[in-house]
Structures are given as C-alpha cells and as structure tokens.
Symmetry: C2
Subunit: 220 residues, 2 copies
DNA sequence: ATGTCAATATTGTTCAACAATATTTCTGTA
DNA sequence: TACAGAAATATTGTTGAACAATATTGACAT
C-alpha cells in the first residue's frame, strides 16, 4: 500500500514526498533546498520541482527568497502564537456548534483510545499521531472541506514545530486524559463546556510549546 | 500607482493578474484556460504560466483536471454553503473575542461610512467593495496572519460567486445598515451581541446567495 | 444514428540555454 | 594581517523546443 498517487500530477506527488520529509524532520529548519540537488535526488526536472516548491511555500512549510532559493521554514515564537490562535478559533468553534450525533465524535473517541494504547506501549510518537488525529476529528465536526484543508496546512506547520523539540513524551502524553474529558463532554451533548475545556487545553499546549522552543533556541 | 509588484517572481505576478480577471468576471466559470493561449496572451513561457495556475488552483479559483487542463471554478450550492460556514466560524469568532480598543474597529467604521457614501451615489459595485473591506476588517480583529491569508482566499472565491449573479444592488445594499449596527455593538464593547448579529447577517446573506444562484442556474 | 479507428490538438515532463542575481575567491593596498 | 573591491563561480529566473501520454475531433463503415 505504497499509495504514491500515481494519477496525480508529478508536482503534487513531489510536494507530498517533500512534505513528508519536512514533518519527519529529515530536513532541518532553515536549511536551503537547492533546485539542482533535489531535482537530481528525485530524478525530476527542475521545472517540476519548482512547481512543487511553490505549493509547499504556499503551505507555509517553505520560505522563498528571491534569487536565493527556498528554505525550510523556521518556527518562531510569533508563528507558534499565530498557529495556536488559529487552533483556538477553529477547534473551539467546531466544538461549540457540535451536534451530539455527529460521526466525527466517534473518530474522536477512537483517537483517544488509540492514544491511550500507544501511551501504555511507551510509543510517544504514536501518541503524537493519535493526538493529531483527535484534533483533525474535531475540525471534521464543522463539516467544511475548506476548513479541513486549511487545518491540514496548519497541522503540517505544527508538526514542523514539533520536530524542533525533543522530549515527545512530555509534549504529548499529558494531553491524552484531557482529550478523553473533552470527548466525553461532546458525547454527553455539552458542546460549550467542551469548547471551554479545549480553550484551556490549547492555552496550556501553547505555553508548553513556547517554553520548549525557548529552551531549544537558547541552547543553540 | 500601477504596483505590478516587480520584485515578486513572475508566477506570483501572473497569478495576481489572472486572479483579477477571475474576480472581475472577465473569465467565465467553467471556461477552459488553454496554456498555449494564455502564455501567448501574457507573453510568458508555458512553464511560468503553469506555476501560476498551480497557485490559483490551490486557492480554489481554478480547477485542474488531469490531461485536460485548468478550468475556472464553477460556484455550486455546496461551495456557497461551505464558504458561509467558514465565514460564520471566522467572522463570528473574531467578533466574539473582539477587544474594544482594537484598531480594526476603526477600519470597520470607515468601511461602513464608505459603503453608505457609495450607496448614496448608487454605485453598487462600490458598495460591494466597501462591504468586502468591512468583513476583512472583522477578520483583522483576530490578529492572525494565517487567518487573514485564508480569508483572502475565501473572499476571492466569494467574489467569483458574486460575478455569477447580476443585481448587485439587491445583493449588497441591504447589508449596509446591519454593518453599522454590528460596528456600533463592538464599539460599545458588546462583542457577543455583535457576533450573534453577524450570525443572522451571514445566514441571511447565504440564503440570498443561494436563491440568486438558483435563479441563475435555472435560467441556463 | 452509432461505434471504431486514425488524425489532430493539448497537456505532462524533460532538457538545454541564457540572463539576472548571489556567493565565493582572488587580489591589491593600507 | 585585515579589508575593500573586483573577478570568477554558482544559483536561481525564465524561456523555448522537444517528445511522450492523453484527450478530442473527424471520417468512415455498419
């Protein structure tokens, strides 16, 4: 099940491959991505590669400087603050108007179960993925393809931030039980309380993130 | 003040030019955009044009079909519903957490004033622009560059929908006074009431839009 | 009218070239 | 040595042509 999306245009497939490299941390923030090197590496033409770069730049994962090339975006304090501002708006909004019978709630519950299982197996990056699934499910509550698409972009940027840090246990584990509580609230048709809980969740996560970034940058 | 953004890469400038054509209605929805024809028209290479097409496709203004080319996106019922779902989420959210002293409130007031002036001059497309400025100012309340950027994309799609209709007077004028009321509410530090008012505003606008699209499509 | 097959046009992708701009290396001078 | 400036080099920006893969058109036979 390699699923290399053979039907899609080359640039899209390329963008997906590079995105994977970016969020897996194989390409360091700030690193320059040479057109010649990458077109060679992926065995595609420079033109096709440039199309892919444009897409990823629009996604905020790459930064483009005129006549200097593209660089892996470097997460900053202000970008983290901005990302969490977006998350509060979207996730709390989606929860607040959540309808008790919405199928996405089932996905939220599944993500919580998965996160717990991964945590018990001490697989912290698994906990992280389950966590991301949980929040994606929350966005699904809003039933908007555009919001889903937008959130995917934000989530990719967030993963880029995660890659900057180490300590994934301390980063993801504490939130598993909060996810459970929030899920229970929407299951019991208390969307406003769920949204309120999510707001404190995100504020806490933001602080954790900023603190971690601070430590990481002063070490450098 | 032509402001052709001479510093930007060619593909970005191209994308902007084509976007202008799209939202001004010079390119009809569903129309196919031939690479050969447009690269000739703008006197650029096919490669550069393709990069621009990719950007606009990502913005939802163009649709890309494999081996068939790009087409101007055709607004549908579902896309309008989706767009207004996004607008409710973003605009109501921004208003709800609005801070009385925020500079964007001043921009809202200015947009209202401008809209009134244009309406009195019976310049309906001017009313429309002022209206768009008003809603952009509301998004500014959230102080997020990512939300602003996302809203720009949504606004462009919305303008594409507007182009499909005629009757701009009936489409924009009724909302000027509502804008005034909402602005007054945030000026008086009643953000929740402003958000509630905005929700009814957007529901009404959505219905108007859907009705108009229905008429336009059954005529075809 | 309908379906089949060749002819044509369009997109998908690559390659090679050159201009414009950045970066590095070299050089001469204080 | 340290440093400013100039030459040399490398990289991006953009173009044009080429060819394969796919889609559209049109002619023809039934």
């Amino acid at each position: 099940m390699t699923d290399d999306g053979d039907g899609l245009p080359l640039a899209d497939r390329l963008a997906r491959r590079i995105r994977t490299l970016l969020i897996s941390g194989e390409l360091a923030p700030g690193q320059r991505l040479s057109e010649a090197a990458f077109s060679e590496r992926f065995d595609v033409s420079r033109n096709s590669l440039r199309e892919a770069f444009r897409l990823l730049t629009k996604d905020g994962l790459l930064r483009h400087e005129a006549n200097r090339g593209v660089f892996v975006a470097v997460p900053s304090m202000s970008s983290i603050i901005d990302i969490y501002r977006v998350r509060r708006m979207l996730e709390c909004g989606a929860l607040r108007q959540a309808w008790q019978q919405h199928p996405a709630i089932r996905a939220m519950r599944e993500a919580v179960t998965m996160a717990r299982r991964e945590r018990d197996a001490a697989n912290w990056i698994g906990v992280g993925s389950a966590n991301m699934k949980f929040h994606a499910a929350i966005i699904d509550l809003s039933d908007s393809v555009r919001l889903n698409e937008f959130y995917e972009r934000i989530a990719a940027e967030l993963r880029l931030c995660f890659g900057l840090l180490n300590d994934p246990e301390h980063l993801h584990s504490p939130f598993v039980e909060m996810n459970d509580a929030i899920t229970t609230l929407v299951e019991n048709d208390k969307p406003h309380e769920a949204a309120a809980q999510m707001e404190t969740y995100l504020n806490l996560a933001e602080r954790t993130m900023l603190k971690a970034l601070e430590r990481a940058s002063e070490k450098a």
